[in-house]
Symmetry: C2
Subunit: 189 residues, 2 copies
DNA sequence: CGGATCGTTGATCAACTTCAACGGTCGTGG
DNA sequence: CCACGACCGTTGAAGTTGATCAACGATCCG
């Protein structure tokens, strides 16, 4: 049962009985996606928040030259959506696609509001989730401002060695903000 | 009374009586800093969260070449700290400095925990604050990945015209991740 | 007045991109 | 089971963006 993973994760952040936790996860829907399947398209309304219980997703958009740019990955225990669109229930500029066959829990904006109203403890959970996500976004910005692209790659490789294995190189390149060709050149050293 | 600004801001996000709101803001301390004064130093423990009620702060660090890099500004109604260090009550790698003479409300990590325990409604408030902050960090990352430095400057100038006026140019340059010289060249056009 | 601070200018240089071509691998259909 | 094409990584040459460095000007303030 893949909801167990979410239940555990919530339980690790807030103090609640198993009964309450299982009520909470009942607000979520279980969905499976195979590799390359699209969960969210540009131009469509972003009204779902995803929790990855197995597999890997990525969030990307097309820049003005038509290149795909990956800005986020999400693996097990991570949350993903186009947060900007989700917050205002608006149209998204992004795509979300499965990098691997993935199992995902999803919740609609409406149901999330309902969940937060019914279980105010969940405000704390999401406060923590956003806090961590914000912290890591800032860390990423700091890296971008601090290091050359070469160093950024090395840092990433050292910090997330499993990621390098799991995700094709051109996605890594896109995520780190450099071209596949240049990444290839860096790797030679 | 500068706490009024915070009170209003909290009131705009969560539904509470004036009485409760004024209890909430009583957890904060009022502090004033003059231009260039330092609120947080690298190497010191980051145990305070700041809310700007008047003025402007910036968060920066020194890169490996010894250049100051500004990663965040905070003006009225914004929260600022080294969130990574604050979360784990750890040592900071950043400085926070007043760009202008500023009035700030501060709260220690301990008191924030106390506040959240005493007024669980505040979890919602901070959930929203982090949600917005995270959204804007992602937007910034998207800009960095999408546009040339020239375009980033133009976007910034169009989106935050008052900022350009208020903050010296070399800080803008640092924040946008380009050199003052290059920014100068861009402006010529 | 004199110094510190900030913005500007132009020359040189390095980091990184772009483009075009090639080679390997994997999966699918014949 | 083989052959083909799609997909992905690699290579090298040429081109661009933006950084660096040094010098000069302007302004502000004590």
């Amino acid at each position: 049962m893949t909801k167990l993973r979410l239940q555990k994760h919530i339980g690790s952040q807030i103090n609640e009985t198993g009964v309450v936790l299982s009520q909470i996860v009942s607000y979520f829907e279980n969905e499976c996606f195979h590799k390359k399947e699209i969960l969210l398209s540009e131009g469509s309304n972003c009204n779902k928040l995803f929790f990855v219980s197995k597999g890997c997703l990525h969030l990307y958009f097309y820049d003005s030259l038509g290149n795909k740019k990956t800005t986020q990955f999400a693996i097990e225990n991570w949350w993903l959506t186009d947060f900007l669109a989700f917050q205002k229930e608006g149209v998204s500029n992004f795509y979300i696609e499965a990098v691997e066959n993935s199992e995902v829990l999803s919740i609609s904006f409406m149901n999330l509001k309902k969940l937060l109203a019914d279980f105010p403890q969940m405000e704390k959970y999401f406060r923590i989730i956003y806090e961590i996500a914000y912290g890591s976004a800032l860390m990423r910005l700091k890296y971008i401002y601090s290091y050359s692209k070469e160093d950024i790659y090395f840092k990433f490789r050292d910090d997330f060695p499993d990621f390098i294995q799991r995700v094709p190189q051109y996605l890594i390149a896109s995520f780190l903000g450099l071209t596949p060709e240049y990444l290839s050149e860096i790797k030679k050293k």
